[in-house]
């Protein structure tokens, strides 16, 4: 039995390892055009800022793959022949498979802005993008970043570390406020401004203006303002990378359509991670998840299914984390950007604006927690949400969740006092 995996990102790797666990004898081939070995995509920024070398971002030693008999193929797949069970490769011999996993990840969104294909305009997703950024910053003094999400602020931090002046255009009234409640969002606004980034809220990109040699000269905003720059970072989200699957006739919607076990509409062809769109059958919108953790968990389940296990993906209690310059953020359960009918929000923020916690309850049970500038335990918060604990219970046990380093100022007493006051 031979399994081929397209993509060596976290999803492909998680799948390969879970197949190997269940099927010690199967052949596993993992194909990537981007890199010879798996690297940690979220660490791209640290290579650029000089915190780590490229090799430091590889989660496994190079010998690991041979030891686990996972064959690595460097190259681009140009077509999937699902009926003939083979992959057509760019300038390489075709790869035959019995089972296939498509884990091609995402690509940066471009919304048809005028000038979006000019030199100096780019997203940040892959090693190729990183390499392109190395070229684009040559001689650059200023940059405009469009799109107030996680990649946008990372790109801002990266360029800032090279002394490049950054103007950050955010369409909403506050940073990432389609995900974060306004208070948390405003804490991040402050962090951005404190770093000397020119944050422009309620500002949209209208047009990217080029010079005679086809390079960016500046942008025009929806307020008809011209901002001079040599780099434009387009970071308005990502979409499933489905071009290959679509061209090969595999069923796609926004992503590659799969069931809860990551089967596509073709026999023995699976898709998981950022590129997959899970058909939810009457549970509302189909599910597309595009963060590291879901990629890893989806890959693990897809690998189990491919290895012949009865396995179904269960998204579980949501969690995520991020770091905005020096401000850390963790979230557990469901915290909406605006309070929903029937939900109550309890919020504490340290007077220094560096730390905050939000606890959301619904029908008397805690359903979501946000922490900023504090570290809280995943296992503890998850169990509170899973067990539907009351606000009182959570406050009584709040200290159990604190995951800050030793000797850090403990704010729990203050938090409990404030939230009890709000709940009274």
């Amino acid at each position: 039995m031979r399994v081929a995996i397209i993509g060596n990102g976290v999803t492909g790797v998680a799948a390969a390892l879970s197949i190997r666990r269940h099927q010690p004898d199967w052949e596993i081939v993992m194909i990537s055009g981007e890199s010879s070995f798996h690297y940690s995509r979220p660490a791209l920024m640290y290579i650029f800022m000089g915190h780590m070398s490229y090799k430091d971002t590889k989660p496994y030693e190079d010998s690991f793959w041979q030891k686990n008999r996972i064959d690595l193929v460097r190259g681009w797949v140009t077509e999937i022949d699902a009926a003939g069970k083979k992959l057509i490769m760019h300038e390489k011999d075709p790869v035959a498979f019995d089972k296939l996993l498509i884990a091609t990840g995402s690509k940066s969104n471009k919304f048809g802005w005028p000038g979006q294909d000019l030199g100096g305009v780019q997203g940040l997703y892959s090693l190729m993008d990183l390499r392109l950024l190395y070229e684009n910053i040559k001689g650059a003094r200023s940059a405009v970043i469009v799109g107030g999400g996680l990649i946008g602020i990372e790109l801002a931090e990266m360029l800032h570390s090279r002394n490049i002046h950054v103007t950050f255009l955010v369409r909403e009234k506050s940073y990432w406020t389609n995900v974060l409640p306004i208070e948390e969002s405003q804490m991040i606004n402050r962090v951005i401004l404190e770093q000397g980034i020119d944050l422009r809220l309620l500002t949209e990109l209208k047009e990217i203006v080029g010079n005679d040699s086809g390079k960016v000269r500046g942008v025009i905003t929806n307020k008809e303002e011209f901002i001079e720059c040599e780099i434009v970072g387009l970071t308005a989200g990502v979409s499933p990378n489905i071009a290959l699957a679509k061209a090969s006739g595999i069923g796609t919607g926004r992503g590659i359509l799969v069931d809860w076990s990551f089967r596509t509409d073709r026999p023995d062809v699976f898709a998981a991670g950022d590129c997959a769109e899970i058909i939810t059958e009457g549970e509302g919108r189909n599910l597309i998840q595009q963060v590291w953790y879901t990629g890893k968990n989806q890959g693990k389940v897809a690998g189990e299914v491919m290895a012949g296990q009865e396995s179904v993906y269960e998204p579980g209690i949501w969690y995520n984390s991020a770091k905005f310059f020096d401000l850390e953020y963790q979230t557990y359960g469901m915290v909406g950007s605006v309070p929903v009918e029937g939900e109550s929000n309890f919020y504490w923020e340290h007077p220094d604006h560096g730390r905050s916690i939000r606890i959301v309850t619904k029908d008397g049970a805690v359903c979501g927690i946000n922490v900023m500038g504090l570290r809280y335990s995943h296992r503890v918060c998850e169990s509170w949400v899973a067990e539907g604990r009351s606000l009182d219970y959570v406050l009584d046990h709040l200290g159990d969740a604190n995951f800050d380093p030793e000797f850090y100022e403990k704010c729990e007493a203050e938090i409990i006092r404030e939230i009890r006051k709000q709940a009274a």
């Binding site: 940690s40 800022m49 989660p59 030693e61 490049i164 020096d326 850390e328 000797f407």
Partner: protein, 464 residues
């Protein structure tokens, strides 16, 4: 497939990610310039006096060096970090020659190594410097300065000056600040002031913060009889202190707090590594191969010390009848190869090449003992926060002991490694809040099998 993704004109393994271009930086501030000028003045005073110019050898001459060097450097570090937002300061580390084995790094390595060679074998070359610190030595210990006093003085100044840098670099992190204050305190008090003051009162020069097997002679029979017979009764106490610290305090403190109570809070070698060595911590080798070499080397040194100590005692008890001169030559051999070459020349000299903990990792017998205790009989562990790890590798990169922390974190496992000195930097640099140093309630919940520590030890020996 889009054309531009298929064309690929760099090899990510070897080329492509050197330093990106940088827009011009703001020039140094006036304060920073003045600080550097003051430091430069101190260094100039040192060089001139070392070459024989006045007022070398007087208090005035000594202060003309110490004050500008200390305050120039300290105020430079203060001003350098003061206007930055508190947080992790690792920008450009891999782009600088000093911190990424460039020409500057090798140069500093050669200078450090040269200093140690002079210190151990050609102290006459340090005579100029020794003369400068002579007034301090005379008042502290009552005797003229020699190369070892000069070394101790430089070492203490380095820990304190670079300690200021650590305070500023980690001013958002109280664990790092308190730990830095601790190594500064023990270096200044226990490893510098007290031994010298003991000498002033005609007592043996004794380092209260070093014990067997790091200072093996503290349990050698020769030292023993010298101390016990020393007039005044303090010698008796020092023998008692040494034995209690080795056999009682070490296992007890390691059980409660892990190896870190010593290695990154008290020890002088650790103190220098955690202050002056901090810019080089990422240079440690994280490979499995390095881990294998480390285990063989560090435990071999420990075995060697234990054997030497036992032989010396047998020899002493039998008045040399059994081993004759053999045990004495073992002792000398240790002093030369381990004490001088390993801990000094390679241990510090190679900071810019192999990272700041080469000696602690590959050679220190105390670290070996503490490591065995930490691995099998301690409550200390680094816990992982659920599934929040995204494998970025900051933790492994900045582990000075070369532990591949990420390998555990990405599997959601606790990190319980003999070599971990508990510096806490992995937890500090983690961008997702995944790692936490903890003294658990017991050693039972650390990892499967740890409820029977001796069984785990036997298992690991079987699988070795």
């Amino acid at each position: 497939m889009e054309e531009h993704t298929i064309s690929y004109d760099f090899d990510e393994e070897t080329l492509g990610f050197e330093e990106p271009e940088k827009a011009p930086a703001k020039p140094l501030g006036t304060g920073e310039k003045i600080s550097l000028a003051v430091l430069g003045f101190g260094i100039l005073m040192f060089v001139l006096q070392a070459m024989g110019m006045p007022p070398g050898g007087t208090w005035a001459g000594f202060l003309l060096v110490l004050l500008p060097v200390f305050f120039g450097t300290a105020s430079y570090f203060y001003l350098d970090f003061k206007d930055t937002v508190p947080g992790i300061k690792h920008d450009n580390i891999y782009f600088r020659g000093l911190t990424n084995k460039g020409i500057l790094g090798w140069l500093v390595g050669v200078v450090f190594t040269g200093f140690y060679i002079a210190l151990y074998w050609f102290p006459e070359y340090l005579a100029g410097g020794i003369k400068i610190v002579n007034p301090l030595s005379l008042s502290l210990s009552g005797s003229p300065a020699n190369n070892w006093f000069f070394y101790g003085f430089l070492y203490t100044v380095a820990v304190c000056v670079f300690g200021v840098r650590m305070f500023m670099k980690y001013r958002h992190n109280r664990y790092q600040q308190i730990r830095t204050a601790s190594v500064m305190f023990f270096q200044f008090g226990f490893a510098f002031l007290i031994p010298n003051i003991l000498m002033l009162f005609n007592q043996p020069e004794f380092y209260l913060s070093y014990f067997w097997p790091l200072k093996p002679e503290y349990l050698f029979p020769g030292t023993f009889s010298y101390f016990v017979n020393h007039p005044g009764g303090l010698g008796m106490f020092l023998v008692f202190w040494g034995a209690v610290m080795t056999f009682v305090a070490t296992p007890l403190l390691t059980y409660y707090f892990g190896k870190r109570w010593y290695c990154s809070w008290v020890c002088g070698c650790g103190g220098l590594a955690e202050t002056m060595g901090d810019p080089f911590r990422q240079l440690s080798d994280k490979s499995k191969k390095a881990w294998r070499v480390e285990r063989w080397m560090v435990h071999s040194v420990l075995v060697f010390i234990v054997v030497t100590t036992v032989l010396l005692w047998v020899n002493s008890a039998t008045s040399g009848a059994v081993f004759g001169e053999a045990s004495m030559s073992l002792k000398k051999w240790y002093g030369f190869y381990i004490g001088a070459i390993f801990s000094g020349v390679i241990g510090v000299g190679f900071y810019p090449i192999m990272g700041s903990r080469v000696w602690c990792r590959f050679g220190c017998p105390m670290a070996a003992v503490l490591g065995i205790l930490q691995r099998y009989l301690s409550r200390f562990r680094i816990t992982t926060n659920g599934d929040q790890c995204m494998s970025c590798g900051n933790c492994s990169t900045y582990c000075e002991m070369g532990i591949d922390v990420r390998a555990y974190a990405q599997k959601g496992e606790n990190i319980i490694r003999a070599s971990c000195v508990g510096c806490g930097v992995c937890a500090a640099v983690c961008p997702r809040g995944v790692l936490k140093l903890e003294n658990g309630g017991t050693f039972k919940d650390r990892f499967p099998g740890s409820d029977r520590p001796l069984g785990a030890l036997i298992d690991s020996l079987k699988h070795a």
